[in-house]
Symmetry: none
Subunit: 221 residues, 2 copies
DNA sequence: TTAAAATTAAGTAAAAATACTTAGTTTTGT
DNA sequence: ACAAAACTAAGTATTTTTACTTAATTTTAA
């Protein structure tokens, strides 16, 4: 009864059902819940704490990477395995940076999939062989991009934002409203409001337009 | 032993394995072979005559529609069930015309999938509910040039924005609020509100984030 | 020249955001 | 370990926005 508890998040019901059937044929793996979009995934996880969340990248409402970020930030006992059904190489690095414990490309076989799942559940990491090449490539490019940043002239602000404020600013800049931000961060709407209020006050702005402009000007994100 | 013999063609090994697991849990269904691209599917069918070929549309080498065409032309005892894992409405009509016996969109549940498979195996046709709407739409649009002229009560297209609405959408996307938009255009705040309201309704969105996303997706500005 | 479509804007009830304040908890830095 | 800082979230009053409807003008196209 203490098998690996899995939550499946994928907007393709058939894929979900398929993977579920595949997993449930294995002893020691239980699919305890499912979600058909990113937001639902976060909701589901609140009540059904799995050992591993298997999550597709492309989903409506909130994509898999956002989901992984959220889980990394809010739960440290839930592992994440990202599935990319499509050849989206551009997301590989992102999802690794978001704290994913594993990444499988579409070509993965059943065997590889189960191997990855078991490894991740026992605290390990699993990334497809193909992925390492992608990471290498990106590392080279990423390093140059990062070093260029130092030379850029960035204005200095007379105040500093807290970690949470920066995080919320990021979501605000994505045009998310307080309700959605609150849901995403598992805090109350009132708290999100407070953070936004403090942000506006610190940046001395009075509306969203000014906020986004100032945030961009000062490269706060 | 005379269950439904199925061949699966999908380039995603995981999806294939998943669906296989799902099908093999059912009595009376045997997955006798698999293929990971269109050409392979045709090869496989030469030696393993299935009752039904379940085929994904998007595949390398040869897409699902070509495969269905080929089968329709060369075998009259092999049924075909097209799976569209993606929301490719444009292929629905094509694959029906190619002689597919069934079509399922990504949203299909396990139950619907099995229902479809059984129906098709016994000589019937199965198309998702969603698909009928797509066909209708396609029919209407195809015939619209000639026949819609007579009908006075033509429904509004998903969305057509007026000049003013486009103008206001532009300002909304600059993150301006209704008060500022009103001032800029010398109209009342209430009017700006109405325009924004109509925009949201036409685009079927409920918040700024969705509005900006949809506007970008449809390149409305 | 008409009818249809577009633009304008007020009215209304309900929902949400704003602008705070207070205050309990948690995290952190020394 | 202890205070400061950060995070949380409720309360409250005010202002806005939302989600409509109705309806008066103005513009546009057949």
């Amino acid at each position: 009864m203490n098998g690996i508890k899995v939550v499946l998040a994928d907007d393709h019901a058939l894929v979900r059902d398929g993977i579920k059937a595949l997993l449930e044929d294995q002893a020691g793996i239980d699919v305890i819940a499912e979600a058909s979009d990113g937001k639902e995934a976060l909701q589901v996880i609140k009540t059904n704490k799995p050992d591993v969340l298997i999550v597709d990248i492309r989903m409506p409402e909130m994509n898999g990477i956002e989901v992984v970020k959220n889980i990394t930030a809010n739960y440290n006992d839930i592992k994440t395995l990202v599935l990319s059904m499509h050849d989206s190489e551009e997301y590989v690095v992102q999802s690794i940076q978001s704290g994913a414990d594993g990444y499988l490309l579409k070509g993965a076989s059943k065997e590889e999939f189960l191997k990855a799942l078991n490894k991740i559940a026992s605290g390990g990491k699993y990334f497809t062989g193909d992925v390492s090449a992608i990471i290498m490539n990106n590392f080279v490019n990423g390093a140059s991009a990062a070093s260029l940043k130092q030379n850029a002239e960035v204005k200095q602000l007379p105040f500093k934002l807290t970690k949470r404020e920066k995080q919320i600013l990021g979501l605000v800049l994505e045009l998310k409203n307080n309700k959605d931000i609150a849901e995403e961060l598992n805090i109350s709407k009132r708290t999100a409001e407070v953070h936004r209020f403090n942000l506006m006050k610190k940046l001395e702005v009075s509306n969203l337009k000014e906020l986004t402009e100032k945030a961009k000007a000062y490269q706060l994100v």
